[in-house]
Symmetry: C2
Amino acid sequence: MRFKEMASKISQWLEESKEIVISSRVRLARNLADFSFTHWAKKEDLAKIVERVSKEAKTSSYLKNALIINLKELDDIDRQFLMERHLISREHAQGKGKERAVIIGDKEIISIMVNEEDHLRIQVTESGLNLIEAWRLATKIDNELEKGLNYAFSEKYGYLTACPTNTGTGLRASVMIHLPALVMSRQINKVLDAVSRANMAVRGIYGEGTQAQGDLFQVSNEISLGESEEEIVGHVEKAAREIMEYEKGARKRLLTQLEERVRDSVSRAYGTLCSTYTISSAETLTLLSKLRLGTSIGLAKDIDIPTLNELLILTRPAHLQEIAGKKLSAPERDVKRAAFIRSKLGIKSSE
Amino acid sequence: MRFKEMASKISQWLEESKEIVISSRVRLARNLADFSFTHWAKKEDLAKIVERVSKEAKTSSYLKNALIINLKELDDIDRQFLMERHLISREHAQGKGKERAVIIGDKEIISIMVNEEDHLRIQVTESGLNLIEAWRLATKIDNELEKGLNYAFSEKYGYLTACPTNTGTGLRASVMIHLPALVMSRQINKVLDAVSRANMAVRGIYGEGTQAQGDLFQVSNEISLGESEEEIVGHVEKAAREIMEYEKGARKRLLTQLEERVRDSVSRAYGTLCSTYTISSAETLTLLSKLRLGTSIGLAKDIDIPTLNELLILTRPAHLQEIAGKKLSAPERDVKRAAFIRSKLGIKSSE
């Protein structure tokens, strides 16, 4: 385990995250023309790709002081830790044995996965609803890297990728969005169905195949071919704005129709977090979600969004283990998590 | 509604109640020889019984300043209120139209139901495990009343009662006992089965046909014929002591094996009660039970037994309505209950 220091603070995009739309992310899928796609490439070639991309990254003006980490050198907890911080995907964390790396820029805004499904996955994450800024920065990094790397590109199809759904722009724009009122009032499926019909994908907080937890959802474009980058970014941003309005409407109705119940649920969530001695990761996310809702509708005055953001990430299983500096069983983590939460809230309440 | 003042304080036996065995009660069933049993008696006769017993009670040295209440003059909430305080049975509260009364002694230690199943049901309740004291006092009152009342008594069978299970001594000795650790460790059924095999009855906190709530059980003798009064009282007291030992053993094991979980559950119960804005009667009893367990094993330092005793009774539905001075719907009561609990705990925590 080697991320003890990093595990005690949160990334900039989360630190500054806002209500409802927590963060915006753009990723570009790129491949090097001189090598087979990751899944077909030989081990030596994968190593060469890591080497070539790392070398180029070091020259980039956006990646000064970047961490270049070979995932093979990490243990399971370290890799899970990077996944919990959204720096690498679940697939990248699990891809056993394969030569692969991640390049992490200052403040964790930029991360480049090397030899995930594609040779390069350039990711930029910004706080709140800010896809355009994320897209601009991703494009700048991409342009810089392209000077030294020979990307696989077709005049007809655009950027070539391992999976055809990414071919074209290779762009995926996504937002992480917090929808507790839509969940509580059972309108969430209606809204998510409408999102799907607009060719958007809805996923859990750790991407494809993961479950929504703590009322957090990821909404992104489904395909990247046939639309310009600007159109894709614009469509996702528009969808996010619409969902945000639905959520705001649901919050207003909840406050009008069920104020006492919502107040009770928010207040109990705070009471439980202040008094627990053993708590699971899932329950923590559920309670934090209620408090996040509470702060936005004025019902949780004892806690603020920065504290909630900290608790959201620092209570994740691998974070707790990095801070402890050792592997912990689930019951041990539950006790550590409870102690950590109480100490965080204790500091707040005695201020 | 007429018990607003009474509803703001608790009876002496509960105020002084101890851990595990909350209270001990003895009741004597008696009937007047000159009248049919309650269920067969004419309305005029029932009225005469009320009159005769009331007159005699007024002369008793144990019933100075006693309240004599004709239940027909009370509304539903008043009658439920008396039942919640264990001053009358559920049957007595519900016996619509029938001429019936209750005589309540000072500090609510003595209560005599008139025209319940039997003409007289003389009840004495003491704190903790103290059946002998309760039995002595009940006998003294009984002897005094017998001077002026002609009891139905047979040399062969003893005191005659409406139901044969009460014939003989007419005595029922019961204890209200708090068994959270046996419930939590799933040993409760085993223990209660053993109790039943020893010819004891186990009931919920409001007597026959009511459910156990908040881990509170009533244990009493099943029959009252063929044993002396002393034997009956002795057997129930012995059974209570044995159950108490089982519960103590279960508490020790819980603390050894599951300390973190028990600490969590106790602490969360306190956190929830401090922060709730709407809470049902059932959930309140569940949480109070955890805190009562917590105080006895040193895990609930923010609260004491007297406060728990107060909350146990003053949060009951009819109590809340007596204090409010009006009929309240269930959701209204839940909000009032939460406010009452918060205020009680707030006062405690700011001391």
